[in-house]
């Protein structure tokens, strides 16, 4: 009993150790909080700084101001940037002054309106959590699931179909059924590349990308053909799902904050539990870390690969189902705005750990939600977020670059990343 007491640590430390992939028992090389987060933190910072440079460099007002005088140029650049990033913050977190005023006035509607930007950021981050988990689970199994986008579309299609074609079910059956149908759609779509990899050795990256394109085309076909909404026949739009299939939203419109966010958190916990607390999760991680060792240990690699991809696909399918059932209530070809690629960034940023993924997903949700406002205020295309994400990703994947920029000392031993991939058309 004494030993157990000793092993009890505060929760924060445990989480950090999990995120960094260190076993809680190996306490020989303790690392401070700063050491753990310095690379992701500096990567995000550097990404935002380079994004700022890009915003300034492509702004015509700044260039014309520079033509007048250097001083005016810099002040205009500062003003421009201030407006843009202020819009980003206001659009994603809300205006603190309005929030305080609303809370002190005690008016319900005013409070809701003041906090809506933040709640909307959570709405935006929900599919990111699912998609990021999908990719993270794949990485843990040594699989690069770049097919999240396609699996998400299939999840959306399946969920939509169950959502509108079945009528008369009570909500507590219909909504979960539609959601699980979405998971199934994603699982099927994810399983195919897994199956191909396990049986033929075809690399999952290209197969997943091909499956993405097939999913786009299939969606376009279904939504203009068999699954089209009769009133707008020919437009790529599905019928509206039944009320009973909707994932409930907590507040009256226009606030879209919904139960899906908590479902996502629940699944994050489930993924964590499976990965780190079950034998099967251990098998998965062993196969991911070292296929050869797994083979000698007698693990069934074929089965693990297939199920790993299917589970990853199921999580991606849930992202699609979530968007359909909780937010859009129908399916369109514009269902995803690049969640597939973003999910890779999320998994890398969160070091393929569910807690890390949730934090990264919240960051991306905030960025995306804020970028919409930034686009309205400063006319900066929303794709700036994609660029910033790619930059963050480069820096997270290659810590030496960040260390070189900020003149940090390299650790004695590089922390092993959770990402272990096999090469090309070649088995490990």
């Amino acid at each position: 009993m004494d030993k157990n007491e000793n092993e009890k640590q505060d929760f924060g430390k445990l989480v950090l150790q999990e995120v960094t992939g260190e076993s809680p028992k190996a306490k020989i090389q303790k690392r401070s909080v700063w050491q753990v987060i310095q690379i992701p933190f500096l990567a995000i910072l550097t990404g935002l700084i380079i994004g700022a440079i890009l915003i300034v460099a492509t702004s015509q007002t700044v260039w014309t101001a520079f033509a007048e005088s250097i001083w005016k140029g810099f002040s205009t650049a500062g003003k421009e940037l201030g407006t843009a990033y202020w819009a980003l913050a206001e659009g994603s977190l809300g205006n603190i002054v309005t929030q305080i005023k609303a809370v002190s006035s005690g008016d319900d509607a005013a409070i809701r309106a003041a906090f809506n930007p933040f709640l909307e950021s959570l709405v935006q981050s929900t599919p990111y959590i699912f998609a990021g988990l999908a990719c993270a689970l794949g990485f843990r199994a040594g699989l690069f699931n770049i097919g999240v986008e396609g699996q998400l579309f299939m999840g959306g299609i399946f969920a939509t179909y169950v959502g509108y074609s079945i009528t008369g079910l009570p909500p507590y059956i219909h909504a979960p059924l539609a959601f699980l149908a979405g998971a199934l759609g994603g699982a099927v779509w994810g399983m195919i590349p897994g199956l191909l990899k396990a049986t033929t050795g075809g690399h999952e990256v290209i197969n997943c990308i091909m499956m993405n394109y097939i999913a786009y085309r299939l969606t376009a076909f279904l939504l203009t053909g068999p699954m089209t909404r009769p009133s707008v026949a020919g437009m790529p739009l599905s019928p509206i799902i039944e009320k009973s299939a909707e994932i409930p939203q907590f507040f009256p419109s226009p606030i879209r904050f919904h139960l899906g966010f908590f479902i996502a958190l629940g699944f994050a916990f489930l993924v964590w539990w499976i990965l780190f607390k079950t034998t099967w999760g251990l098998n998965l991680r062993v196969v991911g870390a070292n296929t050869r060792a797994a083979k000698y240990a007698g693990l069934n690699i074929t089965k693990t690969t297939i199920i790993g991809m299917a589970m990853s696909g199921a999580l991606a399918g849930m992202a699609g189902a979530n968007e359909v059932l909780a937010v859009n209530h129908s399916m369109a070809t514009s269902l995803s705005s690049g969640y597939g690629f973003d999910s890779i960034a999320l998994a890398l940023l969160g070091n393929s750990h569910p807690v890390g993924v949730i934090l990264a997903a919240m960051l991306f949700g905030v960025l995306k939600n804020g970028a919409t406002r930034m686009m309205v205020v400063s006319k900066i295309p929303i794709d700036i977020v994609t660029i910033i994400q790619a930059l963050i990703l480069i820096f997270v994947a290659a810590p030496p670059i960040i260390r070189a920029i900020y003149r940090l000392k390299a650790p004695k031993k590089e922390v092993a990343t959770a990402v272990t991939l096999s090469g090309w058309g070649r088995n490990k």
């Binding site: 033929t200 290209i206 394109y213 690629f341 994609t386 660029i387 790619a390 058309g425």
Partner: protein, 425 residues
């Protein structure tokens, strides 16, 4: 597990190719049955398919039309496929297997066309001509892949390089009102991304697939950003002059091949020239031998005094140039304007063509044209009023890519050190 585990398990390879021989043969027989059951039996016995053998608007190098009795042609094609399949199972075609699979695939497409166009006429030459056009970015992408991977660097960033080059080609071409400068800037953009890939994967040794993916994400975001910020706002910035097509004297008078290969735009000529250059350089020069040895066994190459790191940098940068040409084809060779995401995965299909073509320029060109043909099918069939929805038809290249990767056509020889960063001891 697969034939690609090269040197160590020689015995296993023959075992697997035995399996593959049979599976390939069975698939070929299935194709034969399919042609007979689905196509031949559905065609009216007296129907005639007319294939026009001169692309529209061409005056030199004309060729007479082919007039084929539909059903007879289909039955003959079915029998040929069947014979090939049986021979494949019994004896096998050895090294020519991939080529024979391509041939059966062509039979299949030809039967499909004969079936769809029975009682009508179809401009086959026009289709071949557009297939070659579609094949250009795929084949150049495959060449780019060959350059990188023969030296041992996996490059899935070709798609992103193509996109960047297409965007810059359009933007700079419009600004300077010169297609040539557009081409130059486009290629430069692609080479810069290639340099980034080289630094990340050779110097920092980060996973080459992650590095490639990051570059693809970056390029997608960057091109969309510039496109929305400038190209869509100022239409005149997205209107580059194009490299017009020009005839090659004499060669353009060859029937069928003349109009398709020798009366077209610069990019097709570049493709043919690169084919010859690469094939010779890779397999008949000291330079090529060194490069391949770096991809096969970098440590051995290093002991012999070959600079592995430098060779890899050079290979990736050259690959960037070729990928840049592939991207510029879109804006200043074919479409004449930049649209977001216009490369549509052709960079990835190029990689599949590279694998299908056995990391060989000639094979890559063949595979590229096959993919291009599948691409042009979708557009042509919708004109014929086909019953198959064009959205589903357009998934064909992607499906074929997956089948190719599934090893149905065999992976041939993957460079042994492909994707492994080199660490000097």
């Amino acid at each position: 597990m697969t034939a690609s585990t090269t040197t160590i398990q020689r015995v296993k390879i023959s075992e697997i190719s035995q399996n593959r021989k049979i599976i390939t043969g069975i698939v070929e027989i299935i194709v034969a049955i399919f042609i007979y059951v689905v196509f031949a039996s559905k065609v009216a016995s007296d129907a005639i398919t007319t294939f026009v053998m001169t692309p529209g608007g061409i005056t030199v190098g004309k060729m007479a039309n082919w007039i084929v009795p539909s059903q007879l042609a289909l039955i003959i094609l079915a029998i040929l496929s069947l014979l090939i399949g049986i021979f494949q199972i019994i004896k096998g075609f050895g090294k020519a297997t991939n080529g024979v699979i391509g041939l059966v695939f062509l039979f299949f497409i030809f039967s499909f066309l004969t079936w769809q166009a029975s009682g009508k006429s179809l401009n086959l030459a026009g289709m071949l001509s557009s297939a070659v056009q579609f094949a250009v970015p795929i084949t150049l992408g495959a060449f780019s892949g060959i350059l990188c991977e023969r030296a041992g660097v996996v490059n899935i960033a070709i798609e992103g390089m193509m996109l960047m080059s297409a965007m810059l080609g359009s933007l700079m071409g419009s600004i300077f009102n010169s297609a040539w400068l557009g081409l130059l800037f486009g290629v430069t953009g692609a080479v810069l991304l290639a340099a980034l890939h080289a630094v990340l994967s050779i110097k920092y040794k980060i996973d080459q697939i992650i590095s490639g993916t990051v570059i693809n994400i970056f390029s997608t975001g960057m091109t969309a950003f510039i496109s929305q910020k400038f190209l869509q706002v100022y239409q005149e910035l997205n209107n580059p002059p194009m490299l017009s097509r020009f005839e090659i004297p004499l060669l353009s008078k060859i029937p069928l091949a003349g109009p398709i290969f020798f009366n077209t735009n610069l990019f097709v000529y570049i493709m043919i020239a690169l084919l010859i250059i690469l094939q010779v350089a890779l397999f008949s020069t000291r330079w090529g031998l060194r490069m391949r040895s770096v991809g096969e066994h970098p440590k051995a190459a290093d002991t012999l005094g070959i600079n592995v790191i430098k060779t890899r940098y050079m290979a990736v940068l050259l690959g960037g140039i070729v990928a840049g040409l592939a991207g510029a084809f879109y804006t200043i060779g074919s479409v004449g304007r930049f649209d977001e995401g216009m490369t549509g995965g052709k960079g990835f299909i190029g990689l599949a063509a590279m694998i299908f073509g056995n990391y060989n320029p000639v094979g890559a060109l063949g595979a590229g044209i096959l993919f291009g043909f599948a691409d042009s099918l979708g557009t042509k069939l919708s004109l014929l009023g086909s019953s198959i929805p064009s959205e589903l038809m357009s998934t064909a290249p992607y499906l074929i890519t997956m089948i190719v990767l599934a090893g149905f056509v065999g992976k041939g020889h993957v460079p042994a050190a492909d994707g492994v960063p080199y660490e000097k001891e």
